[in-house]
């Protein structure tokens, strides 16, 4: 896990530095040439790239993430301050996504080929193809400007989380619903389900006790991966809703060429993503007795 994060940081570092040094943008158009040269020396851009990368690794291992060039403050607290907002948003979105996708996916699988099934598939496809910023704007139009019941953007109360959560949740619900449907269908076709039917068990028992429980297991692993997708989607949703999370900070730090902040975000995102996947793997062993035995 550590090696994955170090590689991710190294790649980001090199890509960022290949795209040019940010001194001119930081100092503004009225900066003189001597100021530019001074700042370049001060930030250490005069050293060769491998030396800069090595220095960066050394600092991270000591817990020093450098200072933001834009804010002139240590980078780590700046990023940590935004972490809760992003976690709230992604958790809300995941909840919305599960609440929509799991029942619909199961329903569609149980009634394969029916109108409900086709509608679910069509809905999932629509959800997947709508750009997430567009869903966001649509929600604002309906709930904030027409019904006037929710704020257009911002952060601070539970009312503020509804629209961004719905937008991001809808974005992932489509994919998740299709996945649930496929998994349940797969299980419904298996021998032990046929056995259950032939034992004369009630349909409800067959579906929930036999098919859904087994079918949803792989979905949990995929939820871990989905968390990563949601973090990606959060970048867009946070921009549309002025949500003060890591995604918004990432966009602004990249355009402002604030490399220490970008690298800290990449480190924390990588860490969170790895931890979530580790957690899902551990959860898996709890839920699936077959894995526990190995």
């Amino acid at each position: 896990m550590l090696s994955v994060i170090l590689v991710v940081i190294g790649v980001t570092f090199v890509i960022l530095h290949l795209s040019g040094d940010p001194v001119r943008v930081l100092l503004g158009p009225e900066a003189g040439e001597t100021q530019v040269a001074d700042a370049r020396r001060q930030f250490g851009f005069d050293d060769p790239l491998p030396a800069q990368l090595w220095r960066h690794y050394n600092r991270i291992l000591r817990g020093d993430f450098g200072r933001s060039w834009r804010f002139r403050e240590p980078a780590l607290p700046i990023v940590l301050q935004r972490l809760p907002a992003t976690l709230i948003l992604t958790t809300a979105a995941l909840a919305v996504s599960i609440a929509i996708a799991v029942p619909l996916g199961v329903a569609a699988a149980a009634r394969r080929g029916s109108v409900a099934d086709s509608l679910t598939i069509a809905g999932a496809l629509a959800g997947q193809s709508m750009p997430v910023f567009w869903i966001g704007i649509l929600l604002v139009l309906v709930f904030s400007l027409t019904l006037r019941i929710l704020p257009t953007s911002g952060y601070g109360s539970i009312r503020h989380v509804v629209l961004p959560g719905l937008a991001l949740g809808a974005y992932s619900a489509g994919r998740l619903a299709r996945l649930v449907r496929a998994q349940v269908l797969d299980v419904l076709g298996q021998d032990y389900v046929r056995t259950a039917w032939s034992k004369g068990l009630r349909p409800r028992v067959v579906l929930y006790k036999h098919a859904v429980r087994a079918g949803l297991l792989p979905v949990i692993t995929l939820l871990g991966l989905e968390f990563g997708t949601l973090m990606g989607g959060a970048i867009v949703v946070e921009t549309v809703f002025a949500w003060p999370g890591i995604g918004l900070l990432a966009v602004q730090s990249i355009t402002g060429r604030d490399y220490p902040v970008v690298l800290t975000i990449v480190f924390l995102m990588g860490l969170t993503f790895s931890l979530v996947n580790l957690a899902t793997d551990l959860l898996y062993t709890r839920l699936d007795p077959r894995i526990r035995e190995y």
């Binding site: 609440a99 029942p103 149980a110 402002g256």
Partner: protein, 510 residues
């Protein structure tokens, strides 16, 4: 098959979500307090320390907390603020008489020590103050005569000192030293009409009226600046009444604002100056006739009318209407493709030429750049100037231009133009000189910025304007206005009309 249960389950989920929405959505109190103003900005501030940034949107907010010795008045002339008056002791020494009895927000008195401290802080390494470039260039030194008189000297006669003092804000020396270099941004203190309350990054900056303000207590008691990066979200917040004023409105959204009776547009001249730089030192544009041909080949009026909806003013040269010596009679080169072809033929290029044009789409405040670039490209091609767009981001372009290798490039100038000091950076060969070196222009700029009596400056300015125009230094384009959306009940008639600052002290709500 269990037909009903899963569907019932999903119906339940939908009900649950809808219920949740209804539960948390109470009708919004739309009518905001008449003494609070909320302003939406495309970006958050980067620092509360006015000497730690060169960021237009940060300046637009900090102007409410800090003041300099002077500021621009409605007519574009400098007027006294913390300095009551000033006079020349010699051609290089100015005497400033400071306003007495002024206190910083923390109670510290404002006097000569804070002038010396603030100017020296701005010039010391590690701080970023755009104006400090001019201070260093002019070798500024500050001497205290008594608590309310300071002498400021320059290494040579340099009238751009005054406008450079406009955004060199006065800070309290005792407090600033006590909290330290990083601490000041967390405990900002100035003399301005508003005091700092809190800054939650990417959420809000809150200021409250300074009841003891020397210019009288402001009408608006509380200001909230909200960064909303997406333009459609800014317009939505304006329509929903969540904000009173929004900076950065794209052209596409103007009709929405114009149609709504609850909203209005505020425009003021003096936005970004958009131009196309030409390499006058090598390549085809080294010949002045070719540069003039390029100017004749582009239908700037047509571009403004058809792409920008009429919202821009063609520029003739690098002067804005507020620059001293701006010559109203100098019209932009007319659109005349025949004349352009003839000039190219005279320059020995009857069949035209191919040229790389370095651009970025990230030009702050400049509208519809892609469409504009395309239109220019087509019009230039018609006279034989065949351009290939080399697109990069602003950082890459900013690092590439100093090499002097671009034959043609696009940039915009968003800084202040009322003093003409921008000519020093854009034209003078001693400061940059990457694409233009003309001893005659250098001498005129030195003279222009060395004139001590403001009344003598326009005469020199006119000569300079003419020279740059005839020499076709750039492919001259246009200057756009600043465009703001506002609630109809907000009263705001910005005083110096050309700057992008948001002076809340001049606002009121009906």
């Amino acid at each position: 098959m269990p037909r009903n249960h899963p569907l019932r389950l999903s119906a339940l989920a939908v009900c649950l979500i809808t219920g949740l929405i209804v539960a948390v959505s109470m009708p919004l109190g739309r009518a905001q307090s008449l003494t609070t103003v909320t302003i939406a900005l495309p970006n958050d501030a980067v620092s509360m320390d006015p000497m730690m940034h060169s960021h237009t949107i940060t300046s637009a907010q900090l102007v409410n907390m800090y003041e300099g010795l002077v500021e621009f008045g409605r007519d574009g002339r400098l007027r006294p603020v913390l300095a009551e008056s000033w006079e020349h002791v010699s051609t290089t020494i100015w005497r400033f008489h400071l306003r007495q009895g002024i206190k910083f927000h923390n109670g510290e008195p404002f006097d000569a020590r804070s002038v010396k401290y603030s100017i020296e802080r701005a010039m010391s390494p590690g701080f970023i103050v755009p104006a400090a470039f001019y201070h260093r260039l002019a070798e500024v030194k500050v001497a205290i005569v008594n608590p309310y008189i300071v002498l400021i000297s320059t290494g040579r006669p340099f009238n751009a000192l005054l406008p450079a003092l406009e955004n060199t804000y006065m800070l309290p020396p005792v407090h600033a030293e006590a909290v330290g270099r990083d601490g000041f941004a967390r405990a900002p203190v100035g003399t301005g009409p508003y005091k700092y309350v809190e800054w939650v990054k990417d959420q809000r900056l809150v200021l409250e009226a300074n009841p003891d303000y020397w210019g009288g207590a402001p009408k608006i008691k509380r200001v909230v600046f909200r960064p909303i990066p997406d333009v459609s979200a800014r317009v939505a917040a304006l329509r929903a009444g969540e904000v009173d004023l929004s900076m950065g409105i794209d052209l596409e959204f103007l009709p929405i604002i114009e149609r709504s009776p609850e909203l209005k547009l505020l425009t003021r001249p003096g936005g970004p100056l958009f131009y196309i730089g030409l390499n006058t030192l090598r390549g085809p544009f080294a010949d002045r006739r070719v540069r003039q041909a390029a100017n004749y080949a582009v239908d700037v009026e047509g571009i403004i009318k058809n792409i920008l909806g009429g919202r821009a003013t063609p520029t003739a040269g690098l002067f804005s209407a507020t620059t001293p010596g701006y010559d109203r009679r100098l019209n932009r080169y007319p659109y005349d493709p025949q004349k352009a072809k003839q000039l190219l033929a005279e320059a020995g290029l009857p069949n035209g030429f191919d040229v790389d044009w370095y651009v970025t789409y990230l030009l702050p405040g400049t509208q519809k750049v892609r469409d504009v670039f395309q239109a220019i490209q087509q019009q230039l091609a018609q006279v034989g100037i065949r351009t290939t767009l080399r697109v990069s981001d602003n950082v890459t372009l900013a690092n590439f231009l100093p090499r002097g290798e671009a034959p043609m490039f696009s940039f915009s100038w968003v800084q202040e133009m009322a003093s003409g000091r921008h000519l020093l950076l854009l034209i003078h060969s001693k400061t940059r000189g990457w694409y233009y070196r003309n001893p005659q222009a250098d001498a005129l700029i030195d003279e222009f910025l060395g004139v001590l009596n403001p009344d003598d400056q326009p005469a020199v300015g006119r000569k300079l304007h003419r020279l740059l125009y005839d020499d076709a230094v750039h492919l001259f384009m246009y200057q756009e206005p600043h465009v703001y959306g506002a609630r109809a009940n907000l009263v705001y008639d910005p005083k110096p009309p050309f700057e992008a600052l948001l002076r809340v002290v001049q606002m009121d709500k009906k």
